[in-house]
């Protein structure tokens, strides 16, 4: 857990800490080891106890004006000096005024007879502490001496004695001891278990070999009166000593969030993302082998170089020159950017060792190159350098680091086409800001590439699957053809588009024809209606005429009859 309030100022005055000078270690225990108190350092053989302890002394002597004493119970001072020289620590130069190494290895031919104690040792140490003005002390491999004591009671008594003496002396102390029950009798183990309760701080170092790769980690078990990182932190033993990977330093929270957009190198993709990636974002491009992951990485690198930003391209797959040649075939030209020094291509195959080592090396490279943009192709290769767990932690820290540095990071990640039960997949996707997935669509004897944005934090983005088209003119995206719930790509898309075009034309013509026909029919009906109207008028006229004729005839008839009567003489 992180320091809740950072390092409280009042507390740091009350109990100042003695910095170890070990990158990351001071960070995870809030500034260093408890000053004037004892720290127990437990670990198996070769876990780095002695290196850590010596680094603490060397740092004290060199940087803190705190002379130190190294009590060597296991290795001779000669061997210790030789080992220290490997890390560039010239112990001879620090002796005799800043460092004193005391050879306290039990004499091999010494015969043990009855109980003994370490009063003599403490007397000698008291003498040296005074002479040197020592502030720090290391009791290296105390277990070696304790193992000679006849019983648990005696062991406890001596541990108490040493602890009391250390507290009284005011020295900041490290006691190292093996923490391997195999090497230990049950009693010895017990007495160290009890020691863990006694001391103010306890740290456990682990060293595992996973698939032939060395993996180191340490964990602060307890730290009285101080908050500390409780989780296991991986570390490497580099040329400069220990380097601890402190997970998520507090400062990461305060990283400036940028609203600046940077181009993905593909215009249509920028549109889909609503303007491109965010500056300092972590972009993940996943896909099977051959889905053009590298091409997308290359497009981003080219765009970055065009903007004049220094870019680092780490390639796990092929050599830098090969990548440049291959990308050239799809219109991504990186050659002159390499020449101008803006772009640096690094083959990750030259970096050997664990994922931790890779991260350390990557940071160095990026810092050296002053890279603003970083492409790692593919990051999934990290898994082969160690087990899944470390690789994931390393990637997590890589993302944190790049974000803190303001570096825009594009990682590709290979997905196995046949998923294996071993689940050797990186869990990077949950941490990435933008996740683009590339896929194949196999249809009608064709493999076509598709691109979709699975997520993109903090920006509106397209939900559409697009077809990714690579040509020597460059990389473009086109709308995938969706018809009847089916996505069509490549030739099928083209055919469907054409077929649909013809269909449309036919139906349009047919529609027009029908319109004309209807018009004609309507016109005909209208004509018929008009003629009927005319007919009706004619009938009406005819009828009126008929009526009139009848009337007149009737009148004529009656007139005729009157006349007849008149003629007949009535």
């Amino acid at each position: 857990m992180a320091n809740e309030n950072g390092v409280p100022r009042s507390a740091s005055k009350l109990r100042p800490k003695a910095p170890t000078g070990i990158v990351g270690f001071d960070q995870l225990c809030g500034g260093g080891l408890p000053r004037g108190r004892t720290t127990l350092l437990l670990g198996g053989p070769g876990s780095g106890k002695t290196v850590l302890a010596m680094q603490f002394l060397v740092h004290g002597a060199r940087a803190c004006k705190e002379p130190g004493i190294f009590v060597a119970f296991e290795e001779t001072s000669k061997r210790i000096s030789a080992n220290a020289a490997e890390f560039g620590w010239n112990l001879a130069k620090l002796q005799p005024n800043k460092l004193f190494i005391m050879d306290a290895q039990p004499t091999p031919d010494s015969i043990q007879s009855g109980d003994f104690d370490l009063v003599g040792l403490l007397a000698a140490l008291g003498n040296r502490t005074k002479a040197l003005g020592a502030k720090r002390i290391v009791l290296d491999a105390l277990d070696v001496v304790l193992a000679l004591l006849p019983d648990t009671a005696a062991k406890r008594r001596e541990i108490y004695r040493i602890h009391e003496w250390l507290l009284k002396s005011g020295l900041t102390a490290i006691i190292t001891s093996k923490d391997n029950s195999d090497d230990y009798d049950a009693m010895g183990h017990q007495s160290f278990g009890f020691m863990q309760f006694m001391v103010d701080c306890a740290v456990i170092l682990n060293h595992h070999v996973v698939h032939g790769v060395s993996q180191r980690s340490l964990r602060v078990l307890k730290y009285r009166g101080s908050s500390f990182q409780e989780n296991e932190s991986p570390f490497v033993i580099s040329r400069l000593g220990l380097e601890v990977a402190a997970a998520r330093p507090l400062s990461v929270v305060d990283v400036k969030v940028s609203n600046e957009r940077v181009s993905s190198g593909i215009e249509r993709l920028d549109i889909m993302l609503g303007g491109g990636y965010y500056r300092a974002a972590n972009v993940l491009i996943t896909g099977f082998s051959g889905t053009a992951k590298t091409t997308l990485g290359g497009a981003f690198a080219e765009a970055a170089c065009r903007r004049g930003e220094r870019t680092l391209f780490i390639s796990f797959g092929s050599d830098g020159t090969e990548v440049i040649r291959n990308l050239g075939s799809v219109g991504i030209r990186l050659h002159h950017h390499v020449k101008s020094g803006r772009l640096r291509m690094v083959s990750a195959r030259t970096i050997s060792g664990s994922a931790e080592h890779f991260l350390a090396e990557l940071k160095t490279l990026a810092t050296e190159h002053k890279a603003r943009c970083l492409v790692i192709d593919p990051i999934s290769s990290l898994i082969k350098y160690g087990n899944e767990l470390t690789a994931n932690q390393v990637v997590e820290r890589l993302l944190d680091w790049s974000k803190a540095e303001g570096t825009t990071l594009v990682c590709t990640s290979l997905i196995e086409e046949v998923p294996t039960e071993s689940a050797s997949q990186l869990e990077i996707s949950k941490n990435a800001d933008t996740w683009i997935h590339l896929n194949y669509l196999v249809q009608a004897g064709e493999r076509n590439r598709s691109l979709s944005i699975i997520k993109s934090r903090g920006m509106a983005h397209s939900n559409q699957v697009r077809e990714l088209i690579l040509s020597d003119a460059g990389v473009t995206l086109t709308d995938a053809y969706a018809a009847g719930g089916e996505v069509l790509m490549g030739t099928l898309r083209w055919e469907k588009e054409r077929a649909d075009g013809v269909d449309y034309e036919v139906s349009e013509v047919a529609g027009r024809l029908k319109g004309v026909r209807l018009d004609a029919e309507a016109a005909e009906l209208e004509v018929r209606a008009k003629s009927l109207q005319v007919e009706l008028e004619a009938k009406k006229v005819e009828k009126a005429l008929l009526a009139r004729t009848t009337e007149s005839r009737r009148g004529e008839l009656s007139r005729g009859r009157t006349r007849l009567r008149e003629l007949r003489g009535g």
Partner: protein, 98 residues
């Protein structure tokens, strides 16, 4: 006490003042000498609390510690010297059969 002869034993016992272990070692050594080496032993007591330089120089950190200086070979023993049989054997004063 007579002057030690050729066969005489010379011991150096490192103690830490009068801490229980040191006191016990001193008593045990005295008893052992009285029994097995009457009149032919010499014991030098070094108190590491008073002479820590001596402890550093001689590389004696576990107390009490006994060094048999003569006769050769030089034998080092650590502890209270309570395991008498083993102690005598180590010092070559008694054979297992005896």
């Amino acid at each position: 006490m007579r002057k030690p002869r050729a066969q005489s034993f010379k011991f150096r016992l490192y103690v830490a003042d009068r801490t229980p272990n040191s006191a016990l070692a001193m008593a045990n050594l005295t008893a052992l000498c009285r029994t097995h080496l009457p009149g032919r032993h010499e014991i030098e007591i070094v108190d590491v609390l008073r002479k820590p330089e001596r402890a550093i120089a001689d590389g004696v950190f576990m107390t009490p510690a006994l060094v048999k200086i003569t006769p050769s070979p030089i034998i080092r023993l650590t502890g209270t010297l309570t395991r008498t049989q083993a102690t005598l054997q180590a010092l070559g004063l008694e054979t297992p059969s005896a």
